[in-house]
């Protein structure tokens, strides 16, 4: 059954890459929320969500992105999204996330975007 969700954390300089894997729904979104909160608590505000292995997202997962983005940007950082599978990208687009978030094709593009100093969408 399609239930599992896991998250791996990598760093590259002061960039934190959160690699999401599996199914992000109302059951698993609290795990993602906790991970982002931990980064904020440690003043890590340059965050890149690598969604290459994220096969499902519902509004509960999208809500985590929405609820943190203002605080992260006010702290001088950003939460960018990259490497979306087409099925998941469609959900982001349905709600207009591309107007609020920087969504990049690959992890490398995401890292470059941070290196170039782009902060918001």
């Amino acid at each position: 059954m399609a239930t599992s969700f896991s998250l791996q954390r990598h760093t590259s300089g002061d960039l934190v890459i959160l690699a999401l894997d599996g199914f992000l729904d109302a059951h698993t979104a609290p795990d993602f929320e906790k991970a982002v909160q931990q980064e904020l608590d440690q003043q890590n505000v340059r965050l890149l969500a690598d969604c290459g292995k994220l096969s499902y997202i519902s509004s509960a997962g999208l809500g985590v992105f929405m609820s943190f983005i203002e605080d992260i940007r006010e702290a001088g950082g950003d939460l960018k999204i990259c490497n979306l599978m087409p099925k998941v990208a469609q959900v982001f687009e349905l709600l207009g996330f591309q107007s609020m978030f920087e969504i990049l094709p690959t992890v490398e593009d995401g890292a470059k975007s941070f290196a170039n100093g782009a902060q918001g969408a």
Binding site: M1, A2, T3, F23, D25, A26, H27, Y56, S58, S59, A60, L62, G63, V64, M66, S67, I69, E70, D71, K87, Q90, V91, L94, L95, G96, F97, S99, M100
Partner: protein, 143 residues
């Protein structure tokens, strides 16, 4: 001419861990209806949203209540009926705020209903006080 209508039902306890079971159930219905993979994915998401709302908002912390999903399939459409006996809501109270305004206010509520309306052809909600709440969603099948 005999009716081609077929009805399938699933009842699960009101815990978010059962959302995956609900998605699997809906996936089977959509596949049986001959929907494309993309349309099956949309159906799964819409029903997930409906049931997550029931579990998180209608029932709150209570995890032993019943979430009922009934799918009726005929030649032209799939109709999904999600029924609960929890706290109902008035759909007109759902925030009409734009995504930008929601983000500005650090809110994320109301996304589920927006998704349901985007993904399905019809969404109807009926609250029958002291009895039940019914969310009925219809997806017309492509010929």
């Amino acid at each position: 001419m005999p009716s081609m209508e077929r009805t399938f039902s699933l009842k699960v306890p009101s815990s978010t861990e059962n959302l995956a079971m609900i998605r699997d159930f809906v996936n089977g219905i959509g596949t049986r209806a001959g929907m494309t993979l993309a349309d099956v994915a949309k159906l799964e998401l819409a029903v997930d949203e409906a049931c997550a709302n029931v579990i998180e908002h209608a029932y709150g912390p209570e995890t032993t209540k019943e979430v009922s999903v009934r799918a009726t399939l005929d030649e032209d459409k799939i109709e999904i009926l999600v029924v609960d006996t929890g706290k109902g809501f008035d759909p007109s109270t759902i925030s009409p705020l734009s995504l930008e305004e929601l983000v500005g206010q650090r809110k994320s509520g109301g996304l589920g209903m927006r998704l349901m309306k985007s993904l399905m052809d019809e969404v109807h909600y009926e609250m029958i006080p002291s009895e039940k709440n019914e969310l009925r969603m219809i997806k017309h099948l492509k010929k």
